[in-house]
Subunit: 747 residues, 2 copies
């Protein structure tokens, strides 16, 4: 127990350290100059809109969560009474822990998302102000503001799991290796919130964006961030609620769920090894705590990386370069920490090679994340063929642009799939040959841990995006000098890149983690069904029931995406109608609106309308994801071969696995096609294929139809990459966590 106490203290200590650094960064950012009154006015408008949206969204989400917690409690209470295997010996106690950890996970996720966004909407104006004088200062403010979100998410996720563990094992008196089974609710609660946060935020941001674009360009011929566009504040708000809050919740539940899953696997592995007489330096508990310890070291590594980021003196380097350097530093340190953790916790005299086998697994995980970053760049940056082919296709109109973009999106799935497959097989092999029995799957778990080691830095980079995006908007709307706008544009371009990279990273980690979560699910099923730990749980696709489950799982991905995409369209429609209403009485000349000099649109009503629309439309897709595995499990259990208790668990496993495969590929398609379309447009704007405007023979300036075609592609890609794609990451994880929690019901 002493070892366990030491480890828990260490983990909690590092988490608190992470939170302290986050606090310090908040103070640092808030101390910066907030700029002119004009800028503050805009920033306040964004702040109000974002906070109003998040308040309402959290209210809705927590209501749904409360309902689910009750369902879980009842389900577990009812189901448990008929089982022999019972980790706590009392069904009431089990039901209580599951429901409580669910609520706790939900609350933590909401809190992390809220605070993260609180800081970023205060960082944006400070970034804009800093850009008036120093690009380096602006970069640091934006990154550190984002880092608050990153550190908060990772540290709280870790603290929550460690804290729950401590609580359950001491107060609940549960045997340590059974504790993770009780706290699975934590990951589920976090996933639950993440799904709705990402959906709601994603629908909001894209509806506002599309609405603002269409109104601005189509209806009134004004540019996107023009203050006369009533939807522009909603658009800037959307960047925050979609990208900050949504992605924060997404990574919160990733790290939480994977921590718990890895603990479950570690516990099984160590127990099996112990039966064969293999002892570890910190015992079985040490192996189980390994994921948490690795994560703790990762926090430290990320902190150092973040604090080290700065530009060169002349501010001539690409800001992306500065961010990359910080990232590589964080990765190197995290790997050093990883080596320490594997050597300390995973080595055994009876299996002397185990520790460095697992260390290599961690390295594989990191290399996978780097690979994903580069693959994403290849498919979405305009230095490379794919984006250039889309730009070229734009010369023959919007249809060929779309066709080319869809082609690129479909194509970009192959490299990530091969990389993921190679990583899975390699880490599995390393595990199997480590000297520990049946350690292949633990090897994949460790690879996942490696990939997620620098999650805090990744999330900081991700939140950097909306901060710089908003900063650019503020600068534009308060009519700052051109030179300032150029600085924020440099950061904004980097922000777009980091947003794309972190999506690729999220998918890659979803792929690696999926396997460990499958295994955790299957371990749990075996436990509850009373099979021995070494009994194989087979997911045999040759059984029609399992095949049909798999088919339905893949179909779920498509249907979900359809609902998310359709939601954006409908919500955008409401914005467009509101704006038309506001413009209805303005004077026109030749059908072009002539704005009165003091025209001040009503921003609040647009924000309000999009808020309502997004929240209304996120419920259906979210519920679909949560209910579908349940429905399949229950229906199959009742109607199909009720004599075989495992058959519906097997069908749900098929749904889970093939749903994950489908989700990964479709998310890659949506994210990368969207990113490629966006950058094809930017490529043309740099002057390729004629640039934004052409000169007519008689010296007038006219819009270049090639650019117009690229704008169509960019608009199409937006809901793909900002709503449906990111929501699919969460869908993948939620499928795993929900099956993990609801497994007992299927048996």
């Amino acid at each position: 127990m002493a070892g366990s106490a030491l480890l828990i203290s260490l983990v909690i200590g590092f988490s608190l350290f992470g939170l302290l650094v986050a606090y310090y960064l908040v103070r640092w950012v808030m101390a910066k100059d907030t700029g002119s009154e004009a800028m503050q006015r805009i920033s306040n408008a964004i702040k109000e809109g974002a906070e109003a949206f998040l308040r309402r969204q959290n209210r809705t989400i927590l209501l749904l969560a409360a309902v689910f917690a009750a369902v879980l409690f009842i389900g577990y209470g009812f189901v448990r009474q008929s089982r022999e295997f019972d980790p706590v010996g009392s069904s009431l106690q089990l039901a209580l822990w599951i429901a409580l950890s669910f609520i706790f996970g939900a609350l933590c996720s909401v809190f992390a998302g809220y605070v993260g966004m609180w800081v970023s909407i205060r960082s944006n104006i400070r970034t804009a102000t800093a850009a008036l004088s120093s690009l380096n200062e602006a970069l640091r403010i934006a990154l550190r503001g984002g880092a608050v979100s990153g550190l908060l998410v990772v540290a709280m996720s870790l603290l929550g799991v460690a804290g729950l563990y401590a609580l359950v094992s001491t107060v609940g008196g549960v045997e340590p290796t059974k504790v993770p089974l009780l706290i699975v609710g934590y990951g589920f609660g976090a996933s639950f919130v993440a799904l709705f946060a990402q959906l709601g935020g994603g629908i909001y941001t894209k509806a506002a964006d599309v609405g603002a674009d269409l109104v601005g360009k189509v209806e009134a011929g004004i540019p996107e961030d023009d203050p006369r566009n009533p939807a522009v504040i909603a658009d800037l708000v959307g960047d925050n609620v979609g990208d900050c809050a949504g992605r924060g919740a997404d990574l919160f539940e990733s790290t939480a769920a994977e921590n718990i899953g890895a603990m479950i696997l570690g516990a099984s592995l160590a127990a099996a090894a112990q039966k064969q007489g293999i002892e570890f330096s910190m015992g079985v508990v040490g192996v189980m705590m390994f994921p948490l310890v690795a994560r703790a070291f990762g926090i430290l590594a990320s902190v150092i990386g973040i604090l080290a980021v700065k530009m060169d003196k002349e501010e001539r380097m690409d800001p992306m370069e500065a961010l990359n350097r910080g990232y590589y530093l964080a990765v190197a340190l995290a790997m050093a920490g990883f080596a320490g953790a594997t050597y300390w916790l995973l080595s055994s005299p009876a299996a002397p090679n185990a520790w460095w086998h697992f260390f290599l697994c961690g390295v594989i995980g990191v290399l996978t994340s780097v690979a994903f970053v580069y693959i994403t760049q290849y498919y979405t940056e305009y230095r490379y063929r794919p984006v250039q082919s889309i730009a070229e296709a734009s010369t023959t109109g919007p249809a060929t642009n779309i066709i080319a973009g869809v082609g690129v999106g479909f194509e970009c799935t192959w490299m990530p799939a091969v990389v993921m497959g190679a990583a899975l097989l390699a880490s599995y092999w390393l595990g199997e040959t480590s000297g520990l029995p049946h350690a292949g799957l633990f090897g994949t778990a460790v690879a996942t841990m490696g990939m997620l080691a620098t999650a805090a830095y990744i999330l900081a980079m991700d939140t950097f995006g909306p901060i710089t995006d908003n900063a650019g908007g503020i600068v534009e709307m308060s009519q700052q000098p051109e030179e300032v706008r150029r600085k924020t544009d440099r950061l904004d371009a980097v922000g777009n890149t980091t947003k794309a990279l972190t999506k690729g990273y999220a998918i890659g980690s979803a792929g690696l983690a999926a396997f460990l979560l499958f295994q955790a699910y299957m371990d749990e099923v075996k436990n509850y069904a009373g099979l021995g730990e070494s009994a194989p749980f087979v997911v045999n696709l040759a059984k029609p029931v399992v095949f049909v489950g798999a088919l339905l799982g893949a179909m779920l991905v498509f249907l979900f995406s359809a609902l998310a995409i359709r939601a954006v369209g409908k919500a955008a429609q409401s914005i467009i109608e509101e704006v038309r209403r506001q413009y209805a009485n303005l004077p026109r000349e030749n059908d072009i609106i002539v704005f009165p000099p003091n025209f001040k649109p009503d921003y609040g009503s647009c924000v309000d309308i999009v808020t309502k629309a997004a929240l209304k439309r996120m419920v259906a897709p979210g519920l679909l994801v949560v209910l579908m595995p349940v429905a399949v499990g229950v229906v199959f259990r009742i109607f199909i071969r009720p004599d075989d208790p495992l058959i519906s668990a097997e069908a749900v496993a098929g749904l889970l696995m093939v749903g994950t495969i489908g989700g990964i590929l479709v998310a890659l398609f949506l994210n990368n096609a969207g990113g490629a379309w966006d950058n094809a447009k930017k490529f043309i704007e740099t002057g390729a294929h004629g640039g934004k405007y052409l000169m007519t023979p008689d010296g007038k300036r006219m819009k270049n139809p090639t650019h117009g075609a690229a704008v169509v592609g960019d608009t199409v890609g937006d809901p793909f990459k900002d709503t449906a794609g990111p929501s699919l990451h969460v869908l993948i994880k939620l499928l795993s966590t929900i099956t993990l929690v609801l497994a007992p019901l299927f048996i």
Copy 2:
């Protein structure tokens, strides 16, 4: 043996009957009036272009096929020597039969495609001519011309299988139940040809279509079928080579592969039943021949249905109605024949319920095809919400049109998936409860047979489409009176619907058939690996190797679609450049081309260019599909756990199954989104949302931007529904047949 001879004779007899009817129909069509000289000139141009393309394509395909036959021969010869199990006792003999049946299948497929197209390009002008006087006559010519293709394909497929069976069992002296294992090459050869035919034809047709559209509208402002457009003949040719030849080859290999697969399954089933003392009225051979007999009855049913089609006297009914009536008649008769076949061949005193259980399976198959037809109509006809939502989204521009279309495409996957799942589970259950041991999978095979019973009629309807499409083009280009154009337009609209329906039907049958082909694959692996027939062959997704195989299988679908779509774009580019070259020296006024009165473009060069481009670009995607399972199987065999002989076969099974799931869903997406976009445009052209043209305030006519947006969607959807989508059907089947043939190499 006598029973076997009787059955074979019956099957061959019905096949010959089908061929005779086809011959009669050819004579009937050729006897019709060929119309004016102007019309004949155009028809001749189409004929030359189509035949030139097909000649070149077949040369390329047969070259590739010859290479593959050699590879097969060597592979089988080499591999076989190290195996205990050997169906023929001599590896050379086995290799020979496989290679020969492969070549035979390839040749038959090429022949069927060629003759089918030969007739349809002669039917188009006769249809056009008939439309001058009688809609009923035009309908009948178009349908009967298409029926030649349908009957030829189904009858030859059946004749090929039956003939090979007779040949191998007599000359080769092989035990009857082992014969199907040798003739798997027939299905593979047919699939091989089908893939390249569908790809090559699909790329051709869409490149020509897109090119002609863009040139006509964008470059010169002339309508699509205008004779001044150099690409217009290529466009009309494309309808034939894509839709006729490609789809014919597709259904040829479907029916062939499923026949053989069902025979393999039937043989296993009957042998297992025999061991339990269950005897059938026509013995084991009768069970094995059941699929062929059912197909034979289906030919008769289709013939009667086709001959019965006619319009009402006033010609006021919807022509679709007439086609539907014929279809239902064919279905009813086919079911009657099915009942007869099941009663005769599948009943046994020891299992008295078996026959009608299997009859019900057949009915389920037919109901599934009807369901697919209706689901497709819901998502692609403008009477219903999905298409209307796309039309409405067009009012806010092309981007929202595309977003809505993608949403509809994603959404439309759910109903077919649920229907397919239900059909699989229901037919499996009926088989399991039939009284025969382990007959569940045979139940799914019988359901597939039921679905394909009326394949000849379906293919007739499918080929009807290009015939009426061409007829319309001929009428337009030879400047016939408006009234004639209206008649052909009615038929053309019906033709578009039937093209969409048959695609839905093809996917549905692919889904049902996939299972029977999986099983045939697994049976074969068991045989070759020396396992007993009752040994379970498990495809355990929980094994990382299998999971990775599955991931790669799904990825293959996306990568293949990307290559197909990209091929269309590149090929279209070549046409556009050629047309620009031809237009380069024409006089212009205000940038608009002024055509000289006698301007005659060079059609031949366009046809030539697209031919070359399509053939060049079909090779890569085709080879990808053929080589990927081989690569996975071989690489996994060599590098991963060489101690477990089955592991790579299992990984390939995972690739196959999940690739099928992915292929079904993505094909549904591509086909239905394409169809929906097409009909959204047509809906607007009927006047919705302003119609094609709007009136400006000063009384001038201007193009309606809503229609323009819908045209963008239509253009995007074309390569989806005519190139990538149909090619995916073939990919699904080819994956099954190739794994079937190459299984021994993996062990």
